[in-house]
């Protein structure tokens, strides 16, 4: 594709966009959210599509407007929007308003899918795998490595490959198999997460096959029970609950330790 149309984007440009997408949230703010990072990642495409400096700067300023989505899947949006901008530069696409509409549609849809896959599923799954490995091999960095690999391999693959994918499919990227593929990922990760979590809890109860003292098992069970009750409500946050337990534990230690 990159060699057919006079202004079509080179593979190197798409790669540079993927690389710059790593700074998508560098200047994240409440007003424009990822707007500035989006413009920074989009700049290589505009440089190629708009050789006239004034025109390019005007487009770049447009792209600093509000944008927000799940940061990993933002690469797909970058690629699809680059395709839309390419059409626009040829006079075949719409105007600034239609580009804003396209970005808004891509952002909200990919956020809905990406939050569920990367934040609600893959991130807790990677953490569970990492904690299990760290508990089973307490000396060495295997747990940290497992956590990092389980998350980063799909994350970075999508970040770099997503731009080319979005660019190849264009705005139609959302109507293809993407949704079904991501939904299947969420389902499988949740099931696998249940399995890994079960193994991790079993290991916490009897590390290396030696059951821990009954007081420790009771504390684990109490934590699990209270955790399941408090998880039904978003507030107070788990950290506040954990801090409250910490303060309570300190008071008990001071009160009863002789």
């Amino acid at each position: 594709m990159s060699t057919q149309a006079p202004h079509s984007l080179a593979r190197g440009t798409l790669l540079e966009m993927g690389l710059r997408a790593n700074l998508l949230q560098a200047a994240w703010n409440f007003e424009r959210q990822q707007g500035l990072g989006w413009a920074f990642a989009f700049a290589p495409a505009l440089r190629q599509l708009y050789p006239v400096r004034e025109e390019r700067l005007a487009r770049l300023a447009e792209h600093t407007a509000y944008f927000n989505t799940q940061p990993t899947l933002a690469s797909i949006a970058l690629g699809a929007a680059a395709r839309g901008e390419e059409d626009r530069s040829h006079g075949a696409g719409g105007d600034a308003e239609s580009m804003a509409r396209l970005k808004s549609a891509l952002g909200s849809t990919l956020a809905a899918l990406g939050d569920r896959l990367f934040w609600f599923s893959l991130r807790p799954f990677a953490a569970t795998v990492g904690v299990l490995v760290a508990m089973a091999h307490p000396r060495g960095g295997w747990g940290a490595l497992a956590l990092w690999l389980v998350y980063s391999v799909p994350h970075l693959t999508m970040r770099f490959g997503g731009v080319a994918w979005g660019y190849a499919k264009g705005p139609a990227v959302l109507s293809g198999d993407l949704r079904a593929w991501l939904e299947a990922g969420v389902r499988w990760l949740a099931l696998l997460g249940c399995v890994v979590l079960g193994v991790a809890l079993a290991w916490a109860l009897a590390p290396g096959g030696v059951p821990r003292p009954i007081a420790v098992q009771c504390a684990l069970a109490v934590g699990l029970g209270v955790g399941l009750l408090t998880a039904q409500r978003a507030r107070p946050s788990p950290t506040r609950w954990a801090l409250a337990f910490g303060i309570l534990g300190l008071i008990l230690a001071w009160r009863f330790h002789t």
Binding site: V199, G209, L224, A242
Partner: protein
């Protein structure tokens, strides 16, 4: 300051970058940073004891939409750093356990106090974005890259400064932790499994999502793994 202390500050700055501004690869998660610090200080067990507890809690803290979540990137480094600073050179196991407790509490507190700091940073970025757009309209194309790097530099500096502040507090409070180490170690024996169970519950809730078959899969995995682990033990 020792080389390990300086290394901890740098890891604090880098973790602040990976948390939100750069790459978001989860290299800033407490388990990963605690492992790095464990290697740096030569004390795996203290670092991982803190890292595992903070990791379990961090896993249920999610940066969805415009929400500003607890900052476990810097909190994780603070937690392991405080514990390692206190435990450095301590000859007794109960002092290291007391240090782990102090580390986890410091990590959670730093993560919570990081929320207003992150909000301030994000408001500062609003000004940066407005400045950048103005500069672009005035014809300065480089303003975009400059504003990105300014935001990155600020995040690194904040991560490093917060870690430095907590490490100095750890130095100042180490004597008190030594003095009360028996009580704190007792509290650690109670709190560590409590926090683990609590964190497991948050993860279980995230995976099960009120679906009965997933709860069944979890229960089967728990019982099966327990039997295999206990029966397979020498």
């Amino acid at each position: 300051m020792t080389a390990a202390g300086i290394g901890t500050l740098v890891v604090g700055g880098l973790a602040a970058l990976d948390g939100t501004p750069v790459a978001q690869t989860l290299a800033s998660q407490p388990l990963v940073t605690a492992t790095l610090l464990g290697a740096l200080w030569g004390d795996w067990s203290t670092a991982l004891a803190v890292g595992v507890v903070l990791q379990i809690l961090a896993a249920s803290t999610l940066p969805i939409g415009a929400r500003t979540p607890e900052d476990y990137s810097v909190g994780g480094v603070v937690g392991a750093g405080v514990a390692l600073t206190i435990a450095a050179g301590a000859p007794f196991e109960h002092v290291r356990q007391a240090a782990s407790l102090a580390g986890v509490l410091a990590g959670m507190t730093a993560a919570s106090l990081g929320v207003p700091l992150l909000r301030w940073q994000r408001r500062w970025n609003e000004g940066l974005a407005r400045w950048c757009e103005g500069e672009l309209r005035a014809g300065r194309e480089r303003a975009l890259a400059e504003s990105q790097w300014a935001a990155v530099l600020l995040a690194f500096a904040i991560g490093l400064a917060v870690t430095a502040l907590w490490l100095s507090l750890a130095h100042a409070g180490a004597r008190m932790v030594y003095r009360e180490s028996l009580r704190l170690a007792g509290a650690w024996h109670l709190l560590q499994p409590l926090w683990l169970g609590f964190g497991f519950a948050q993860l279980l809730h995230a995976f099960v999502q009120r679906r009965l078959e997933r709860a069944g899969v979890f229960a089967a995995a728990l019982v099966g793994a327990w039997l295999v682990i206990v029966a397979g033990a020498p």
